[in-house]
């Protein structure tokens, strides 16, 4: 580390060079010098003091007014010096905060981790990307002893850390559900009670829960105010909304949810998403659900996982790589 005296000497040199000859080269030295002084946390008032003493040593007959004016300038720069030091410290604090959040995001990732199960006759693809560090979206797969697979997709209203904390609670509530087969309707009803009791009154969760039985190929599902997914009918080559009515989790204590059923034929697909998918804003406005269908059709020849990856990449590009909301997309596809 260079000493303060050394830096003052350097300033004297650089300034003298410039006073001798006003070249761009000499100015460039000045710019390089400032990089060094910033690195050594030299404050603006000190630079002015370097400046003044250089002038005093170089010119004997300097008018007093010039020196006084430098004293005045030094006083004015004090405020900037304080602001500069504060800025340095805040920058440091921000770094700390950032790394803390990164650690929290890793913890969350581990807490909320889920494995995509292997299911007879069903191919599953899933992707979830947070808008910031922490994800307020959540998806989860469970497989019971009858090989039935349950899929949950949820979105906390709100983003960032509060949403993420809330999600961890949902995850634990789901883990502590009784072990028998998870009927969508009863899953949502018990989670609703947990959320209603434990979460801030202006925080809500939307959730879709589905259960696929690989023996009967029946997909039963229920929704708590969640963005409707799509159903693709392979025979008709047609997409329809996978509509299910139901109130958000956490609004009313005794909400009852309706359960729907659908027979999944070979080649059929179920597409589930968070509202981050349809709330993607591009320069031309919101992404319409039709645009999303076009994306799905374009990628239909791929595996379920490749499909969701590709669709995410395309939507990300459309938004110029800036996600406004957490993004989650799941595709379930019955093998032909």
């Amino acid at each position: 580390m260079e000493s303060r005296e050394n830096l003052e000497e350097k300033y004297r040199e650089a300034l003298s060079n410039y006073l001798k000859e006003q070249t761009e080269q000499a100015l460039y030295q000045g710019q390089k010098y400032s990089r060094k002084t910033i690195e050594h946390k030299i404050s603006p008032e000190e630079i002015i003091s370097f400046h003044k003493s250089t002038l005093m040593d170089t010119y004997e007959d300097l008018p007093d007014e010039v020196l006084h004016s430098l004293d005045f300038l030094l006083e004015v720069m004090m405020g900037y010096g304080i602001a500069y030091r504060e800025h340095q410290n805040l920058k440091h604090l921000q770094q700390e905060l950032k790394s803390e959040i990164e650690i929290a995001a890793n913890v969350q990732h581990t807490l909320l981790g889920t494995h995509i199960p292997k299911v007879k006759d069903l191919e599953i693809g899933a992707i979830s990307v947070p808008a910031r560090h922490m994800n307020g979206d959540y998806y989860h797969f469970v497989q019971d002893e009858n090989q039935c697979v349950g899929v949950a997709i949820a979105d906390v209203i709100g983003k960032g850390i509060p949403a993420a904390l809330c999600m961890s609670m949902i995850k634990y509530a789901m883990d502590s559900l009784p072990d028998h087969r998870h009927f969508p309707k009863s899953v949502l009803e018990s989670l609703n009670r947990v959320v209603e009791r434990n979460v801030d009154p202006s925080m809500f969760i939307t959730m879709f829960y589905g259960l696929f039985d690989p023996e009967t190929h029946i997909f039963s599902y229920a929704s708590a105010g969640h963005e409707p997914g799509f159903y693709y009918d392979a025979e008709k080559k047609e997409f329809t909304d996978l509509t299910a009515r139901g109130l958000l989790l956490g609004v009313e204590k005794k909400t009852q949810y309706e359960q729907y059923e659908k027979y999944v034929a070979p080649g059929d697909m179920i597409v589930l998403m968070s509202d981050g998918v349809t709330e993607c804003r591009t320069s031309e406005g919101f992404i319409e659900r039709n645009t999303l269908i076009e994306f799905i059709e374009k990628n239909m020849h791929l595996s379920a996982q490749e499909m969701v990856n590709n669709i995410y990449k395309q939507l990300e590009k459309m938004q110029h790589f800036q996600l406004r909301d957490d993004f989650t997309l799941i595709i379930l596809k019955r093998n032909v």
Binding site: S49, K52, D71, L74, I82, R85, E86, L90
Partner: protein, 133 residues
């Protein structure tokens, strides 16, 4: 205690008087122009806090001699409302929002030592020292 002199802070002009006092003492002790400016800026901030939020109080300047070192001590005291959350006013970023205790982190950085005693409803005393290097 070698030497102490004080300025009462009642109106904005007293801030100038406190600065002047601080600068004179700093010069006598042999502080350079940059440190003089730091000391007077610290005095300004402390006196301004008294003027704006405590109504009135005083700023005293003391010369210190310890272990062959000499230094300048600022004591700013008032019988104002006190500072309810010292940790908060000592946080960076808070000062920009104004309000009681604004600028204290800046004072702390300008000086070598900083000490704050406050009682809500009773008042505040801040002691800040700069040592001659």
């Amino acid at each position: 205690m070698e030497f102490q002199s004080c300025v009462k802070i009642i109106n904005e002009w007293d801030i100038v008087a406190a600065r002047q006092l601080g600068r004179n003492v700093a010069k006598e002790l042999g502080f350079g122009t940059v440190d003089q400016a730091r000391i007077t800026t610290a005095i300004s901030e402390l006196a301004r806090n008294i003027y704006l939020y405590a109504g009135q109080g005083r700023v005293c300047i003391e010369k210190l001699y310890e272990n062959g070192k000499s230094g300048l001590l600022i004591i700013a005291s008032d019988e104002g409302p006190g500072i309810p959350d010292v940790r908060k006013v000592m946080e960076d970023g808070f000062s920009t929002s104004g309000g009681l205790g604004a600028g204290l982190p800046g004072v702390k950085r300008l000086m070598d030592e900083f000490d704050l005693d406050t009682n809500v409803g009773k008042g505040t005393e801040i002691r800040a020292t700069k040592w001659l290097r």
